[in-house]
């Protein structure tokens, strides 16, 4: 059977049929898998939040292991005591803020001068209280995000970073232990004011022994991702300042 594939009418018919078939396959896949994907994403957020405050299943020095998905929902309920949204420097209780609030949208709202809801979590583990702040920013290629856990003195107790599309082996290493572990112990306050934590090159401190400088050794070959992490920490956490000030005085 010979079809004249050069005719315009055939070309148009072919594209219409192709788009219809491909479109329905993709729509079917997307709706059919939506619940499972959504559940996986919720678990991931719970795991990330717990990881930032030091609740993890790390086996040795190099591994980044979360609480298994089968247990994470229960653990999250147990450890994360309070979930708030911060509006204009005031905290309001907000159930399941970790899943229901889209931080990127809220940050965009704030940037355009409107009111945004900033999620904020309080966790308790081994009798210690932790404040956990979600962050969102830009890396080299795409979005980066993460969670910053502060202890009661507002010193960084842990972080978790993740990214959408940073270069494997370079920028993608922001989610490696040797980078994330360096943040623990750094203070976001210096000289009496909020200063954040910076990722810097050549600070002559690869082991990050100096915890008072607010600096963390950068990753080789990942300057822009590193700058993105610095900007993300400084800009996201800065928005929480009015509220964190009230916690600092207590």
């Amino acid at each position: 059977m010979a079809i004249n594939t050069d005719k315009n009418s055939y070309t148009i018919l072919f594209s219409v049929v192709m788009v219809a078939i491909v479109g329905s396959i993709l729509a079917l896949a997307a709706t059919g898998l939506k619940d499972r994907i959504g559940e996986n994403q919720r678990f991931e957020k719970q795991q990330n939040i717990l990881y930032a405050m030091g609740v993890n299943a790390n086996a040795d020095e190099g591994s980044v292991s979360f609480i298994p998905t089968t247990e994470v929902a229960e653990k999250f309920q147990e450890i994360i005591k309070e979930q708030y949204v911060i509006v204009n420097g005031k905290a309001e209780s907000f159930e399941d803020a970790y899943a229901k609030i889209d931080l990127k949208k809220e940050l965009d709202l704030i940037k355009s001068g409107e009111e945004g809801k900033l999620p904020f979590f309080v966790g308790e583990n081994d009798g210690k209280r932790y404040y956990i702040i979600p962050m969102y920013g830009k890396g080299l290629w795409d979005a980066i995000w993460g969670y910053l856990a502060l202890d009661e003195n507002l010193v960084v107790s842990g972080v978790y970073f993740d990214h959408k599309g940073e270069t494997p082996g370079l920028g993608a290493n922001i989610k490696m232990r040797f980078f994330m572990d360096d943040f623990a112990g750094e203070s976001i306050y210096r000289d009496g004011g909020y200063k954040g934590v910076s990722v810097v090159k050549g600070n002559n401190d690869p082991l990050n022994a100096d915890k008072t400088d607010g600096q963390v050794d950068a990753l080789a070959g990942a300057t822009i991702t590193g700058n993105g992490v610095t900007a993300m920490i400084n800009e996201s956490v800065k928005l929480y300042q009015p509220y964190l000030e009230t916690l600092r005085i207590q």
Binding site: D6, Y10, T11, S15, L33, N40, K164
Partner: protein
């Protein structure tokens, strides 16, 4: 290869050496530079392309008589993008951890010119079985080079292989580092991959002078 005829075997073996997509045809250089800073990423990319090129070539080959030639490039793009997205969605639902590792590669797979190149040059004119073999062969040829580059870049740049410190600890100065050896930071950045590709091309052409083009 007993099950394959001589001609079929050539489809798989040629791209591994004398008609390698990277070193001879100089395709797929972008991803060869971008993701070879560590061996693991090279392996992941090699397997992903193996899958997409194998299946994609078969799909294009089955459709080869009905695809209108005017829009064939768009059709090829649609096929490869659909394949990649479906795999990505299924992984997100059933193997979330794996999908996180792969997410970076999704864009790179779709834009890999080896894939479009094989659709265009082979699958549009050959049957499904031959196209499948051609896809597998080219993906393996691509993967071999990626793995070689990843091996040297990770070993010389970070002193590790697949994340394991094989040369000792550069900060605590153990193993090779105790004798004053240092990691070469240059190997981590993409230009180093170009130099490794250049060396592979050099070695390959000096062993087989037939590959050298007349000036």
């Amino acid at each position: 290869m007993g099950i394959l005829s001589k001609k079929d075997a050539q489809l798989v073996l040629d791209p591994l050496a004398d008609n390698n997509p990277i070193t001879i045809q100089v395709l797929g250089i972008c991803s060869a530079l971008a993701i070879t800073a560590e061996l693991k990423a090279s392996l992941v990319m090699a397997f992903s392309v193996l899958f997409v090129l194998g299946v994609g070539n078969v799909v294009i080959s089955l459709l080869r008589n009905v695809i209108p030639s005017k829009i064939r490039i768009i059709v090829q793009l649609v096929v490869v993008a659909t394949l990649v997205i479906i795999v990505d969605q299924v992984l997100k639902a059933f193997a979330y951890e794996l999908s996180k590792t792969l997410s970076v590669f999704v864009g790179l797979i779709i834009t890999n010119c080896i894939i479009m190149g094989r659709f265009e040059a082979f699958a549009l004119g050959n049957g499904p079985w031959k196209s499948f073999l051609d896809g597998i062969g080219n993906a393996l040829g691509y993967g071999v080079i990626l793995i070689i580059i990843g091996f040297f870049r990770e070993l010389l740049g970070s002193g590790t292989l697949l994340g394991y410190a094989v040369l000792g600890d550069p900060i605590a100065k153990t193993g090779l580092y105790a004798y004053g050896y240092e990691n070469n930071g240059f190997m981590i950045i993409p230009p180093a991959a170009l130099i490794v590709v250049g060396i592979i091309i050099w070695v390959q052409r000096s062993r087989n002078p037939q590959l050298i083009e007349e000036a």
